[in-house]
């Protein structure tokens, strides 16, 4: 694409430009990319993005209860003979709008993949790829990579072994990554997913004609390939993320009730799965994090300071700046699925640094002991840090 004419633009010219709005709204090239291609206009581009986001955001959202109440009043104004019929209609509308902004159609879709996830038991012992025919492909590597061909039939494992499968409708594939391992996978549409330790990704080898969807348990970082005609959904057991072409990290840990989505680029929205009529679409902007509230009823959005911290794991390390020691230990303990305990004094300690995620967890704990100026000892099945 030619960006030459952007060199003379001010913020208002960018906003008026259809191509620019498309870049911001659809994200088919990143804003950072654009800034690099039009380096003279970095400031103006940032300003234009901020202004445009503000101009496009919904100013007002009425509560669903109030909308329904008013809708009922509209129907009541009709003749009495319509009454009986209206109740039938009202019930039907409730179902139709019940999935919030994602509609009834997606509700049914969601059930299909959720049912599959619920019905297929797995264990997190080895890195495994499970194909459509139920065949388990074991992968003996700390860091593996999988690449699908565009038709979903060919699967390249670790750049060396090529597998073939036939793709029947509704036959899901799964990637299982146990604790202490990682994997990168390129799906048939070109979307890249980095799967973190102790996680599972479920997807169709070749997506449906009208939409793309994956189910995630654990943590993964996504770079979704742009395809305006096929929206991309990341489903977790708590909420669904609708993707508008973008880069983001999702943490969906059922056992800790921890659900976070951190957006690096582009735009995504989230909707709680079982919200019914009360559910709404929560939009997330770059450098922000969406978390599930403790009661699982709401989505809370906050800004994140060091966005790189959330994706460093995919390159095999953790970075942390002035982070609570207990928080860091939580991440390490989750990565290796080991129990780590600290005494109260250590918990309030803040640490900064970079940690290599080595194959042997004890080598990582050695590193932790050095940065935190502490020592640790192994007691039965847990590690205890003390000063």
């Amino acid at each position: 694409m030619d960006f030459y004419h952007f060199n003379t633009y001010n913020a208002e010219d960018f906003i008026m430009d259809d191509k620019f709005r498309e870049i911001v709204n659809e994200g088919f090239i990143s804003i950072e990319d654009l800034k690099d291609r039009v380096p003279l206009k970095r400031q103006e581009i940032k300003l234009a993005v901020d202004m445009l986001n503000k101009l496009q955001i919904k100013e007002f959202q009425q509560s669903p209860e109030r909308k329904l109440e008013q809708w009922n009043r509209i129907l009541k104004q009709q003749k009495k003979s319509f009454r009986l019929r209206f109740f039938r209609y009202a019930a039907a509308i409730l179902i139709l709008v019940g999935g919030g902004s994602f509609s009834y159609f997606h509700y049914k879709q969601r059930l299909a993949i959720e049912n599959f996830v619920a019905s297929s038991a797995i264990n997190f012992q080895n890195t495994e790829l499970i194909l459509a025919n139920g065949k388990h492909v074991g992968i003996d590597r700390i860091q593996s990579n999988i690449k699908y061909s565009a038709d979903g039939k060919g699967v390249m494992v670790n750049d060396t072994t090529e597998m073939k499968q036939s793709v029947a409708e509704g036959a899901y594939n799964q990637m299982i990554v146990p604790h202490g391992k990682r994997s990168q996978i390129v799906l048939s549409d070109g979307t890249k997913v980095w799967i973190n330790s102790g996680s599972r990704l479920v997807y169709l080898p070749v997506f449906k004609a009208n939409m793309r969807e994956v189910f995630l348990e654990g943590e993964a970082y996504f770079e979704v390939a742009k395809d305006a005609k096929k929206p991309f959904y990341v489903r977790t057991d708590a909420y669904t993320i609708k993707v508008y072409g973008t880069k983001f990290d999702v943490q969906a840990y059922k056992s800790d009730n921890e659900y976070n989505t951190i957006l690096m680029e582009g735009k995504v929205s989230l909707e709680i799965n079982h919200g019914g009529v009360l559910s709404k679409e929560h939009f997330l902007f770059p450098d922000h994090k969406a978390s599930l509230s403790e009661d699982k009823e709401d989505i809370l959005i906050s800004e994140v300071a060091n966005i790189d911290n959330y994706t460093a794991w995919k390159d095999g390390y953790l970075i942390f700046k002035n982070e609570a020691f207990s928080e860091l230990l939580k991440r390490v303990s989750r990565y290796y699925n080991i129990n780590i305990e600290v005494n109260a004094q250590m918990q309030i300690k803040h640490v900064s640094g970079k940690l290599d995620l080595k194959d042997n967890p004890e080598r990582v704990l050695d590193g932790l002991a050095i940065i935190s100026k502490a020592r640790y000892a192994k007691h039965e099945n847990k590690y205890v840090f003390y000063e």
């Binding site: 445009l52 809708w71 902004s101 906050s302």
Partner: protein, 202 residues
């Protein structure tokens, strides 16, 4: 963003006018409510009046379904009908200032109520400043900015609704954006000077 696809709603509208299908009208109602309400806020801060206007146009649709016809751009049609209804209601209540043909003259840019924490974070910084600048625009400018960026109507559709030429519609949008940008720059410079000032002082 979550934009209702215009073509789909055109089809749903046709389903409604074919035989008064209430499910179809319900879909239109629920998916356009917030847009209409936000549009109403450009003309008045009286929430009751806005709710009534929404209720009135949908009641009208139900009652007059036999007289309604298919439209090219459904969203533009809906916004146009709502605007017409609201301005009439405002006139009736004497709440529309005669000096200002289009608005109650008191419309503020409303901070989104999407999510409180979100509002604090993103709006907190640049967002708040931009809303401030938006509030300095004329009523007409606010109206046209809303129709262009929140409703995503084309210049052609906006010009028909507001009864101005496409060219002046385009210029109005452009000038508004330029004013916001220049004011933002001005604020930025002022805040930099403030910091320098304090640094010199202490």
């Amino acid at each position: 963003m979550n934009k209702p696809d215009n073509t789909d709603y055109k089809v749903i509208w046709e389903m409604f006018i074919a035989d008064g299908n209430k499910e179809a009208l319900g879909l239109i109602y629920f998916s356009h409510y917030d847009l209409l309400y936000s549009f109403g806020l450009k003309y008045t801060n009286d929430n009751q009046l806005i709710e009534d206007a929404i209720q009135n146009i949908f009641s009208y649709f139900l009652k007059s379904v036999n007289h309604l016809s298919s439209v090219n751009n459904f969203k533009a049609y809906l916004l146009q009908s709502f605007r017409h209804q609201l301005i009439n209601d405002l006139k009736r209540e004497n709440k529309l200032k005669l000096s200002n043909q289009f608005t109650g003259g008191s419309s503020e840019y409303h901070e989104p109520e999407v999510d409180e924490i979100y509002e604090k974070e993103w709006n907190g910084r640049i967002g708040k400043t931009i809303s401030k600048c938006l509030n300095h625009l004329s009523e007409k400018q606010k109206e046209v900015i809303f129709l262009r960026f929140q409703s995503e109507l084309s210049y052609n559709e906006i010009s028909v609704m507001l009864d101005i030429t496409v060219d002046s519609c385009y210029k109005l949008v452009y000038r508004s954006l330029k004013e916001i940008r220049m004011e933002l720059e001005q604020m930025h410079i002022t805040s930099k000077q403030m910091i320098l000032f304090f640094m010199n002082k202490f």
